[in-house]
Symmetry: C2
Subunit: 364 residues, 2 copies
């Protein structure tokens, strides 16, 4: 698997006229090598496939990164990379400009100068991220398993959620279910946000008790075989809505229509900004444009947030075999918020929804 991916990467390295590429971002090196430790660098040239890590991880790296030459390093990048590049007579080395700190780059440059090496550092962005955004069938299968698990967790929570329990209790119930049913940790900190808390798009579960007639926003993700799912639903407990909830019910309708419209009309070949616009227009027409403050969605894979980025300014091109979320939301401070989120994949030019949980009704 990693071999295929390297075969896709190497022509890009050649095309950029590089002797080698330094990969420093965790999900990127995991994708290319299989190595899942928290510290490591890949150095990939046409003839070398090197994984550099420290002594805490060398054994794990040898087990996980088939086909890679594992070298044990000490200290920071400037301590070992210039010597390696010099030994291998590399003169142009690409690096991930979004994932190397200013300080690390500066120290590396200073060391190269001090050693009088002819080594040029070339900043690059999203090289591996763009490969990762197109999912292989085996990757899609793992994402589907993770999506099925969040669907199952939602069924479970629907059966037990009720007024009187706290946000934290609901969050723990969901997390326990996910973990006991095969999720490797959770893909991100779960959100269970009730009443006014649901107006915070990234709320953390609190001791607040759930009440009748309020919004309860649930956002969760599972991880299976290293691949994430991402799932949001907003519920209203109890059949009789309070006065405060009639506005929430109207918001729910607008968000749902925006989400269904986007899913229906997204096509391969669109930019991610055009996809975002499909949903945004519906919400704007309902009068809530200012209250939809985030993008429509994001790619999902080894990382919970990856390419493509669906936002009003994104130039990412949507293509078949991408997997991403469609999750419009409207948030009114003091009242509450509604977000509805599915994971979709682009197949034969159209969005196929992977998430199965119902979303047609606000009321539980």
């Amino acid at each position: 698997m990693a071999i295929n991916r390297l075969q896709k990467l190497r022509p890009i390295i050649s095309q950029k006229d590089l002797d080698a590429l330094l990969v420093s971002q965790l999900e990127n090196y995991r994708y290319l090598s299989g190595f899942a430790g928290s510290t490591g660098w890949l150095i990939i040239s046409n003839s070398h496939t090197i994984l550099a890590t420290d002594s805490r991880y060398t054994e794990q790296a040898k087990q996980e990164a088939q086909g890679f030459e594992v070298i044990q390093i000490r200290g920071e990048l400037d301590n070992w990379l210039p010597g390696l590049a010099s030994d291998l007579q590399w003169h142009k080395l690409g690096f991930e400009a979004n994932h190397l700190s200013f300080a690390a780059h500066h120290k590396l440059s200073e060391t190269i100068k001090a050693k009088q090496l002819k080594l040029e550092l070339i900043p690059l962005v999203n090289l591996v991220e763009r490969l990762r955004s197109i999912k292989e069938p085996a990757e899609l299968e793992l994402i589907i398993k993770a999506v099925e698990l969040t669907d199952a967790a939602f069924e479970q929570v629907k059966a037990t959620i009720r007024p009187g329990v706290t946000e934290k209790e609901v969050a723990w119930e969901i997390e326990s279910f996910l973990r006991q049913n095969g999720s490797e940790g959770v893909a991100f900190d779960l959100i269970v946000a009730s009443g006014p808390n649901s107006a915070l798009p990234h709320a953390q579960p609190t001791e607040r008790i759930l009440h009748h007639g309020e919004a309860v926003l649930i956002d969760m993700g599972a991880r299976i075989g290293g691949y994430c799912s991402d799932f949001s639903r907003t519920l209203c407990l109890g059949k009789e809505l309070e006065a405060a909830s009639s506005q929430l019910a109207a918001i729910y309708s607008a968000v749902l229509e925006a989400q269904l419209t986007a899913i229906d009309k997204i096509e391969s070949g669109m930019t991610a900004a055009q996809a975002d616009q499909l949903a945004r227009r519906v919400i704007e027409q309902a009068g809530y444009g200012d209250a939809f403050g985030h993008g429509l969605g994001h790619g999902v894979g080894i990382a919970i947030h990856e390419l493509p980025t669906l936002s009003p300014t994104s130039a990412d091109l949507l293509t078949d075999s991408m997997v991403f979320t469609v999750e419009p939301g409207v948030y009114i401070a003091g009242l509450g918020g509604v977000r509805i989120e599915d994971v979709v994949t682009l197949e034969k030019g159209r969005a196929k929804v992977l998430t199965k949980s119902k979303k047609d009704s606000f009321q539980l």
Copy 2:
């Protein structure tokens, strides 16, 4: 609380001759402002205390960051920071060089040039991190609570751990206990590593079944009120050691002696490298120097790894009110590993051990 911390920071900003400091690192801005969202920037001058975040977090920021002016931003740093600096007539802006990517810095510099602003970006390292390394009494109290919780979790696991269960089952039991007893998530991915897996210092729990006479290395952390604990013990299940374990028993003795020696002799005023050397010498004399591949420990606070860094090359100065781990380890590929880790604080010049769990015996 945040006000005190700003009062410590502002003289440093003046001393560096800066108009303002940009704080981009999550734990750093949380420490200074109380804001715990995942995206934000502080901009601190003598007369301004600004928290910039996007619409997902503005409500939360207003609730959490008392005394800060919350501004809502869109897009990346280069989209809003140059305008702000220009409005406030700043000419020298410090930034966290370890926590700003090469790409973000580059885009910001290009925008400043294009707008012909007189704004110089000054790279700085560890300014806030050094403040964070000296704990206030209230911070120490929270760390002690987190340490007490890991002690309690270990008591629980000792009562139920036995040959026949898997690493994953033990890990889930520990995590459930921590979470159900007040831990906010876990401070890091738990390690339960048995037999040869314990030779991987950062192993992930697997389906491997625990056996008699093998090492089982447990490493866990809790989080209370935002503050972490970190805890490791290595056990051997069953009273009759297999032949393979006599070497492990010898390693256990060496690691324990190294840990006790370091705790006994660490003093305020030492460098962190000198502290590391106290333990390393004992392990070297026992013949396992090459198998102790990591540093002696690390600071613990809002982050699970923070200053001081106890390693053979660290120049960090140990001072009173620091809190850090003392965790020597020896790892033999194929056989197994031993690590013993306590959290200590420096008080009146000496190390006071916060962790209470026994460590005198390898056998459970």
